[in-house]
């Protein structure tokens, strides 16, 4: 095994071009587990810790450019207003020690359906900035996940940042697990209201081969909100509407039975989380007391 230690982004791209099989390591929270357990013996490890740029974020007028290695702890502490959904999801990642090291770049690179950031990234709608010596490209998050632990990146590419729109409405995240800390999601759900465009976006984790959106549920809800004039009136949503949204969200799942939960349970739980998170975000939109600022809420 060789340990590559690029001191700059350009050096990292050059190293990745020369050794496309090199495994990037930043927080190490996925890679080191595989190495410790001898599940993986990469020929090259490509350490990204020295590239300071990856730990930085920039809040622009409309978007946030989030470096691939910005630790979840920093997202929770510094970007709660701009990226409420991702901040909530970040808070459910493993433990403080893990959140101090891990960032969204790792979740995206691994592309496990259980990665906690995915539902929030899908719901916010974002672009992943990847680069190689051949050039830079922005991959829309909707095109990023291509299969079980597969993504749309080429072997010579590295993830540099994620560009997320600043929240224009309430966002929520919910996750099912056996306890609060140190839990791989049984399933998870993220929702973002976008009053600016009168749309709603969602993300589902751990309930399909890849992280997915519940598109039918989003379209149904957007149409129902529009037709009922709910965006203007800010009226409470009828339970039947939330119920239909929940059913469609559950229908977007394509889960498996595994040690963490059965397919039937996952489908059911995603429906419940869809209904509840819709309720929380809508109450917040209406100016109710329960907003995204309150952090995790028990339902």
């Amino acid at each position: 095994m060789d340990f590559l230690r690029p001191a700059s982004w350009e050096e990292a791209l050059a190293a990745k071009a020369e050794h496309p099989t090199a495994v990037p390591i930043a927080g190490g929270t996925d890679v080191m587990v595989e190495i410790n357990f001898d599940h993986r013996r990469p020929e090259y490890l490509l350490d990204l810790n020295r590239i300071g740029d990856l730990d930085e974020w920039e809040v622009g007028e409309r978007t946030v450019r989030l470096g691939a290695s910005v630790p979840y702890t920093q997202i929770m502490e510094n970007l709660r207003a701009e990226l409420p959904g991702l901040a909530l999801a970040s808070h459910t990642v493993a433990s403080p020690q893990i959140r101090n090291r891990g960032g969204v770049g790792g979740n995206l690179g691994t592309a496990s359906p259980a990665g906690d950031a995915h539902p929030a990234l899908l719901a916010a709608g974002c672009e992943v900035e990847v680069e190689s010596l051949r050039g830079r490209r922005m991959i829309p998050i909707d095109d990023f996940y291509t299969g079980v632990k597969r993504n749309a990146m080429e072997p010579d590419e590295l993830i540099r940042a994620v560009h997320l729109p600043k929240a224009d409405g309430p966002q929520q995240f919910s996750k099912v697990g056996t306890r609060n800390a140190m839990v791989i999601a049984v399933c998870a759900f993220g929702i973002a209201l976008h009053p600016g465009t009168r749309t709603v976006r969602t993300g589902i984790g751990s309930a399909a081969p890849t992280p997915v959106r519940a598109r039918a549920a989003e379209e149904f809800l957007a149409a129902a909100l529009e037709e009922g004039g709910f965006w203007e009136s800010g009226q409470a949503l009828p339970p039947s509407l939330a119920q239909q949204f929940a059913q469609l969200a559950a229908g977007a799942c394509n889960p498996i039975d595994d040690v963490r939960g059965s397919a039937a349970y996952r489908r059911h739980a995603v429906g419940i989380m869809a209904r509840r998170t819709l309720g929380w975000t809508w109450e917040s939109y209406r100016g109710g007391a329960h907003g995204t600022k309150g952090g995790a809420q028990c339902a």
Binding site: M1, D2, F3, R5, I25, G27, G28, T29, V31, M32, V33, I35, N36, F37, R41, P42, L45, D47, N49, A94, S95, P96, Q97, I98, N100, R101, N180, A181, M182
Partner: protein, 204 residues
């Protein structure tokens, strides 16, 4: 490969490090610092918790090569680390940890016989959080203790009067099979209370 980094304020070198090795392995097997414990090697238990550039991390998930030139504090250096922090008057300047000058002056703990009688402020004395764990009966088999001490000490450095929720959150990455956690919570509360009365006494 060779890895050079600062451990508890002292520059250390490890040779013949395998590229896939963890910081935990280097500390325990190459530097003879077995305080950080290896229980799961997958970030689940927190018994390997150390400070990396001041930040609590699972040393089993840090590749050895990633610590080149960086600063690590383990439970073996916790008492010294806490003492230096206290002497500098807490975290006021935002610079916690061991400065370069202090690092150069760092001395290893003397052998057991030399520390007998050296009660006040000398090396070998326990940090406040270590003393509180003993006084509160928060240690049973002790396997989880080093990781908990490092995590709890960092909590109190950031937040000198944590709520129970703060304590639970800060220690949520540390598993204990023995105590049921209640005494561990007691210990952290005790250390916080002692810290407050100490600063109150100083009129700080």
């Amino acid at each position: 490969m060779r890895v050079t980094f600062t451990v508890n304020g002292r520059r250390q070198e490890a040779d013949d490090v395998w590229e896939g090795e963890s910081l935990l392995y280097v500390l325990r097997e190459r530097m003879g610092l077995p305080g950080s414990k290896n229980a799961c090697e997958q970030g689940e238990c927190g018994s390997c918790t150390v400070r990396l550039d001041g930040v609590p991390v699972c040393s089993c998930l840090v590749a050895a090569g990633q610590v080149e030139g960086r600063d690590v504090v383990t439970v073996e250096g916790l008492a010294d680390f806490a003492r230096q922090r206290a002497e500098r008057g807490g975290c006021a300047g935002g610079v916690c940890g061991t400065g370069l000058d202090e690092a150069k002056r760092w001395a290893a703990k003397p052998a057991a016989e030399e520390q007998a009688g050296g009660q006040s402020g000398g090396p070998g004395e326990l940090s406040p959080i270590q003393q509180a764990f003993i006084d509160a009966g928060a240690v049973q088999c002790g396997f989880c203790t080093p990781g908990l001490l490092v995590a709890a000490d960092e909590l109190l450095e950031r937040n000198d009067s944590p709520s129970d929720a703060d304590i639970r959150e800060a220690l949520s990455g540390n598993l204990c099979r023995c105590t049921g956690y209640e005494k561990i919570l007691d210990a952290v509360r005790l250390a916080a209370a002692r810290g407050e009365s100490r600063t109150a006494g100083q009129g700080a």
